[in-house]
Symmetry: C2
Subunit: 536 residues, 2 copies
């Protein structure tokens, strides 16, 4: 028998000695998640998740954030974890609900970052029937997950949840997916599980440090390719000291999940996007020291162009694999080199005011740079519009920049959403291309719902501009009458002011520099969600 | 070497004797699809699909329809195939692009219906690198596909495409996914392949017909549970003759992919949604003859309720499996029974005019029924709002009704889009719940882009109303302060007029019967996309 909620509602504190069956699986799961440090759940529940939703009323400590599409939930979990340093949960509805969240889980996997997915499934007794929503949930989960488990029943839910969180928090961060059958959630369960130990980054061997030190002492050109912890805080400081002492270049991947930038921060060069320019950029480098990343490869392959972007004569050398302690490794390397002098830092110098007149991509970034508040978070999915003007923010106010790690567009607005939940005291600036923004525009509703302090700037160029460029690489001089409509978004025009207002976000359209100047001034001077459609 | 488009552009007719390498893989693929009867492609391409897009300019016969989210593309392919009786292609961008389309492919799989997915992948030489968009594309595809293949290179693309279409068109319809590496698309390819034979429905054995005839002659209560071809045209006529001659009940699944309804059509009862009412509905039935479907099971399981909905004493009997020829089987059965008298048909009787005043769910359906044009297509994803009032359309003008087959919400507006592409001369009425409409609202843009004759009616109840009901089934009297926000969409309110206008669709909001009456009159009196937000 299922006990009524009244029977168990008072007894459900995690620390008490409970009678057996005093809580159901969903309650046991929620207590376990909270005890394991998971405090936020980005949710899009359905019928099979109703026990979980019901348990939210009886278990303290979990903030549930409703998302109107699952891709928003998974992208928000990614953004949350990048900024909070610990995972959020998602709550997803069976195979198809998970399916809608897979693209942003792909991105999260490529960060890599910690996410705990709770995926409802039919009751165990119901799974053998071909009901409409029956699917192979585990098969969906395996496409993007490092760790997948299906709770065999309510007795193991708490233990499984603790293991899921441990898997997610294993350095450098993993996607853990726990499939929760509806009856495992509604039946009487065991006590909650305490948190399991977090499996942090592994130490880097002395040999790896000695190898890098030798390369740096050899007097030949060295570049560091940095990702993860190495791009902020003590790790970045240590890298900066090494660069100051040795002349080594500091470089980050073309798209980097999180980097501390702006005035007072150690400047890091960005690897170019196209294979030719990327190889030219690294030309002459004798050793490319890899810290938390791999040797660079092309985003895509092209006819007659190489996939590997390390130029001839450049030797990759791993200082720290992604699961290793990059911060400690860089500090040890700096010590080994006697690199004690402080790094050179980016000065504070606002971008010049753009000329009056029609907006350009560059003018947008200049004005964003001029208004960027101290300690802001920039979620950058501006694709072709923002990419060339990325250097403009290097001397703006110090900020964290979050980029699309896995190439699956539709991640920027959800990441901004999750980052804002993680850091309620910081302004989030979400730089968005209009094409990519359409994939997960439902994020705006959650921003309004939760009163998140996110200002979204839409670069409205009304095209899949990157693809207009790409078409040249497969031999087309230009798009013809059938191809062009696949790349152009002018018919009909997307009205981002109406789309935002339709989801409760205050919005304005601007088409000249004065208009954007005023709109940014207004948005940065207040709290809460805003959208600025910048016609470029 | 890749040949320039100029070299090969003139020579690319499918019927000519071409020199080897006269076309690339993408052109060979496109010619093959067109030759196999695939004339529409719902596309959301990326870089790896640029050769396909480029080929659209050099191969005639393929209509490419741009969708701004992949779930729109896959749902539209489903709707197109339900109405056109043949598959459309989708064009999707690598694993994550496919991922965004999986939920509606799940739905299409449950119809089941023919879909040909063309999924771009990295060039074969590039796949071993961990580029941002690298993923196991086949693993994503297998979750929803009956048939999956990866073209080994340009030489096999045409043959693979012909096999993909054959797999998709194998009765009763399958999901076929062809993974196309970028280099297989851009390199010189073989000639196009001619169409392969369509593997149509299998004949039903004489034994199966004799068994059903015996059950019908036994004098005990018999009900037919019908799906697929049996719910329209000659199949439904034959079922109606059998019912008239024997008193057997004609029933369809709770959610049926396509059914001919309205005045002059054979009336079919709809199986109730909840297990208790469904079992009560079938109580007393001695034999349940299955035509193109399975014995009914619950949409979800609930504590202490059965999954199987066939009541005790009711014996399921298969007349035609889904891959068998239900139309011929029903006609043979009618002949065997000597059921020559014409079936009784639904009369033409418009729903009564609702009372003046605030809109109710029922009033919406009454007015829709009053304005429904002859031969309209109704895409019904109205969930809790429309469900109880489904009988009101039984005596409205004759129409096809398309419902959510796989339970993954977010299919109604894409299905409406595809149906409108398939049937440009028929009005499509898309009945949408506001919660489910948010999953794939980007469909509205494609409706505007293609000037599709779709009128969308949003039941704006501003809640996941079905879940407010479902919560009771897991023991909660009501949603508390944490659970309620997971089910309520009032904060902020979704403004569907702005959302529609933001995507180029003319829209109006109504909150009383007179307003809806005027809005429907206007929408039905013109062609092109419209949206009516009905506050209920």
């Amino acid at each position: 028998m299922v006990r009524s909620p009244q029977d168990r509602s008072e007894a459900a504190g995690a620390g008490e000695i409970l009678p057996p069956g005093a809580m159901n699986g969903a309650e046991s799961l929620l207590h376990t998640l909270v005890a394991s440090g998971v405090e936020v759940c980005f949710a899009n529940p359905g019928t099979s998740e109703m026990s979980f939703v019901n348990a939210l009323d009886r278990v303290d400590g979990m903030r549930a954030v409703l998302c109107l599409f699952e891709g928003v939930a998974t992208g928000a979990a990614d953004g949350y974890a990048r900024m909070a340093g610990k995972p959020a949960a998602t709550l997803l509805h069976l195979g198809p609900g998970l399916a809608n969240g897979l693209a942003n889980l792909h991105n999260a996997r490529k960060v890599p970052i910690s996410v705990v997915n709770i995926i409802g499934n039919h009751a165990s007794t119901h799974q053998r029937f071909d009901a409409p929503l029956t699917s192979d949930v585990a098969a969906f989960a395996h496409t993007v997950s490092h760790w997948v488990a299906s709770s065999a029943g309510p007795r193991t839910v708490a233990a499984d949840a603790a293991r899921a969180v441990q898997a997610a928090r294993t350095a450098p961060g993993q996607i853990a997916s726990l499939i929760l059958a509806a009856d495992a959630a509604w039946l009487p369960a065991e006590r909650p599980s305490p948190a399991l130990p977090v499996i942090g980054p592994a130490p880097v061997s002395d040999l790896a440090i000695a190898q890098s030190a030798r390369a740096l002492r050899a007097g030949k050109p060295v570049a560091f390719l940095l990702r993860g912890e190495a791009l902020r805080g003590r790790g970045l400081q240590a890298a900066g000291r090494i660069a100051a002492a040795t002349g080594a270049r500091l470089v980050c991947d073309t798209f980097t999940p999180r980097i501390e930038r702006g005035a007072g921060r150690v400047p890091v060069e960005r690897l170019p996007y196209r294979p030719g320019p990327a190889i030219a950029f690294l030309q002459g480098t004798a050793t490319l020291i890899l810290v938390g990343t791999q040797a660079p490869v092309g985003f895509f392959a092209y006819p007659d162009q190489p996939s590997e972007l390390t130029p001839p004569g450049c030797e990759p050398l791993v200082l720290a694999h992604p699961h290793e302690d990059a911060t400690a490794a860089l500090e040890a390397l700096a010590d080994a080199l006697g690199a004690k002098a402080p790094p050179s830092l980016s000065p504070f110098r606002l971008p010049d005011m753009p000329a009056d007149g029609a907006l350009t991509d560059e003018a947008v970034m200049r004005l964003v740079g001029r208004y960027l508040p101290d300690n802001a978070i920039v979620s950058d999915e501006s694709i072709t519009a923002g990419f060339p003007h990325y250097p403009l923010l290097e001397t703006a106010a110090p900020h964290d920049c979050l980029q699309l790690a896995g190439g699956a567009i539709g991640d920027g607005m959800p990441v901004a959403t999750g980052a804002a939940v993680a850091c309620p005291d910081r302004k989030v600036v979400s730089l968005q291309a209009d094409g990519s923004a359409m994939y997960t525009l439902q994020a705006l509703w959650t921003q309004a719902r939760e009163r998140l302090d996110v200002t979204t700037v839409i670069y409205a160029n009304r095209a899949y501009k990157v693809l207009l460029d790409e078409l040249r690489f497969v031999g087309a001089d230009r798009a013809g009458s059938n191809a062009f409509p696949m790349l152009d978004l002018h018919d009909p025009v997307l009205d981002w002011v109406k789309l935002a207002e339709g989801m409760g976000v205050e919005a304005v359209r601007v088409d000249d520099t004065r208009g954007l100047d005023a709109a940014l001034k207004s948005a940065m001077g207040q709290r809460g969600p805003r959208l600025i459609e910048a016609l470029v």
